[in-house]
């Protein structure tokens, strides 16, 4: 085993990676402009989708670090800088998401409300952020939303989002700071502090992540609710985040960095991706089966929209791509250890969970009004903005990564265990 790695090499963000990320951002900007010129409603839905996805992936980086510290896991030390870089991107991703949501809440257009009547509605959260929705004399009055308005009102909503994203970003920053400090000083001091901070994060995260999903995504269809929705979104966050972490590691290794990451580390990440894909399916199915079986109209409305004949292929594709594909590709030991197979699985899962979020968001945001494309169509704007946000994420991630003095926490107390990790 070769243990003579130099840990002092810094990541340099240049060359093809930089060019490509900028090209991808340019595609996104073109898509954004074209989107606003043709269909503002759809563009806002896409912005929300990608902003939420990017934030979730960054939050997953912090969650990954916190889980490793709390479990006192040794194997992950060698890969820890990548999720830490995710944590460093979260403040920016969070601000982008907040800006999108604020813009969507406060800009309005003429569109159909729930009953199909044309009125002035906001671009995002049109069901409950509509003007006069709680006023009995207004024609937009909605008794269900009024009953929920103690929780679901614009200012409390924005404050909550700011609190979630702010507290996650802050704790993520602290974890990165302790780890950088550890590189300088060594010893157990920073490790112990990271452990405590991770425990705090998991407590905060555990209680707020379902609410984060309820607020950002579920309230798009505010008449409907599902108690499974929060954990279903958490599973999507965790699987997609793990896929992005693994893909980043594979690409960094191919570019000649982080040579201490062996196929054993990748095997572990592959196992997590496999296991939590099954977990995602379990939650997806738990939500679906009970709704389908009970068939109560107010619950079934969510799946009713997604079972329209034009939408059904997407509905089933979601299960194939997010359950069957990882189940069959990642089941055997060998496929988790073959970099090409694992890389393909990562890409499938990243696209798959984008599609999953797409299904959660589109039916609730895009109306059947004249001029707006119906929600069952996958439009070029969707794809352009996905590419754009991917480029933006790559750019921010690699910039954050290049600021680390070393690509491994070189004085982490469990470093040797990780370098000799063997499965």
């Amino acid at each position: 085993m070769n243990n003579s790695h130099s840990f002092d090499g810094q990541f340099e963000f240049k060359g093809t990676a930089k060019t490509w990320s900028i090209i991808m951002i340019a595609v996104g900007v073109i898509g954004l402009i074209a989107g606003f010129l043709t269909n503002g409603e759809r563009t806002f839905a896409d912005l929300l989708l990608n902003g939420y996805y990017m934030s979730c992936v960054c939050i997953c980086g912090i969650f990954f670090c916190a889980v490793q510290y709390v479990a006192q896991a040794g194997w992950s030390t060698a890969v820890l800088r990548v999720p830490q870089a995710f944590a460093k991107v979260l403040p920016y991703a969070g601000i982008i998401l907040l800006v999108i949501i604020i813009a969507g809440l406060f800009t309005t257009h003429q569109g159909p409300n729930e009953e199909g009547k044309i009125t002035t509605i906001p671009y995002l959260y049109k069901l409950w952020a509509l003007k006069g929705v709680t006023d009995p004399h207004s024609e937009n009055f909605d008794a269900v939303i009024t009953a929920k308005s103690g929780y679901l009102n614009t200012w409390f909503f924005l404050a909550r989002l700011a609190i979630y994203l702010g507290s996650y970003s802050l704790i993520g920053r602290m974890l990165v700071k302790y780890s950088n400090n550890e590189d300088e000083l060594g010893g157990m001091f920073n490790y112990n502090k990271s452990f405590k901070m991770s425990v705090i994060f998991l407590l905060v995260f555990g209680f707020t992540v379902p609410l984060f999903a309820f607020d950002t995504i579920m309230s798009l269809e505010a008449h409907w609710f599902s108690t499974m929705f929060g954990w279903y979104n958490f599973a999507a966050l965790w699987v997609s985040g793990l896929s992005v972490i693994t893909l980043t590691l594979i690409l960094l290794r191919k570019a000649g960095y982080m040579q201490w990451v062996t196929e054993d580390h990748l095997h572990n990440l592959g196992q997590l991706m496999f296991g939590f894909s099954v977990f995602w399916t379990y939650l997806w199915f738990a939500q679906f089966l009970l709704t389908w079986y009970a068939n109560i109209p107010e619950e079934a409305t969510y799946f009713y929209k997604r079972w329209e004949p034009q939408f059904k292929p997407w509905f089933w594709l979601n299960i194939i791509i997010n359950f069957l594909a990882p189940l069959l590709t990642l089941m055997s030991r060998d496929s988790k250890r073959k970099v090409q197979v694992l890389q393909a699985a990562c890409i499938i899962l990243i696209c798959g969970h984008w599609l999953d979020y797409w299904q959660m968001i589109m039916p609730g945001t895009i109306g059947a009004a004249k001029g707006s494309e119906w929600y069952t169509i996958l439009s070029p704007i969707d794809l352009a903005l996905f590419v754009g946000f991917a480029g933006l994420f790559i750019f921010m991630l690699l910039t954050a990564l290049s600021k680390f003095k070393s690509l491994i926490p070189k004085k982490h107390p469990l470093l040797e265990e990780s370098l000799h990790h063997h499965l």
Binding site: F285, F288, L289, W292, Y293, N295, M331, S332, R333, H422
Partner: protein, 178 residues
């Protein structure tokens, strides 16, 4: 010809045992097997042991379990006695998923356990066959088939040099039989 069937080199330390394996392999002495009180990373690779095929058995048992209960549920709820439950069709596949999942897991778990017992000659109530009892406690044991591996003295010396605390020449393969 001596009556020795197996030569056992007992080591007190796993690193010394790994060194012992290296020494024996360097001198082309085939190793019958190695017994340790705890798992040692990298030893399978060193001894050239093939990957376990237990996973394939698990997969097959899982498929068997899933198929069994799905057919059973189909026979009971669709073929033999269709019932109207909440207006759902008799062959309501989503309803079949939880029980199919449960039986797949159940068959996999039991099947794997039984396969493991069968492959390792273990079974509840059966006295396990052990070449040296201290291999279950604090000794790391390398076993060498004595038949055909001569001279025995040389092997003994190799093991001693590598750091074996004790070398045994056993006339019986196992110290414990049923």
């Amino acid at each position: 010809m001596s009556s020795t069937k197996y030569i056992l080199g007992l080591f007190a330390d796993p690193d010394e045992m790994m060194h012992g394996i290296d020494t024996l392999q360097k001198n082309s002495v085939p190793i019958y097997d190695v017994y340790t009180p705890m798992p040692i990373h990298g030893i399978e690779k060193k001894l050239g042991i093939k990957d376990s095929r237990l996973g394939y058995a698990a997969f097959m048992f899982g498929c068997l379990g899933g198929t069994t209960i799905f057919s059973m549920a189909y026979y009971m709820l669709v073929q033999d006695w269709p019932m109207n439950i909440g207006g759902k069709p008799a062959f309501a596949i989503p309803d079949f998923v939880p029980i199919t999942f449960e039986w797949t897991v159940l068959f996999t778990a039991f099947g794997m356990t039984l396969t493991f017992f069968y492959a390792t000659h273990l079974f509840p109530g059966r006295t396990p066959r052990v070449m040296d009892l201290r291999a279950t406690d604090d000794r790391f044991v390398i076993a060498i088939d004595a038949q055909g591996n001569i001279p025995h003295e040389d092997i003994t010396n190799l093991l001693k040099e590598a750091g074996a605390v004790e070398v045994k020449h056993n006339d019986r393969k196992y110290v414990s039989y049923e």
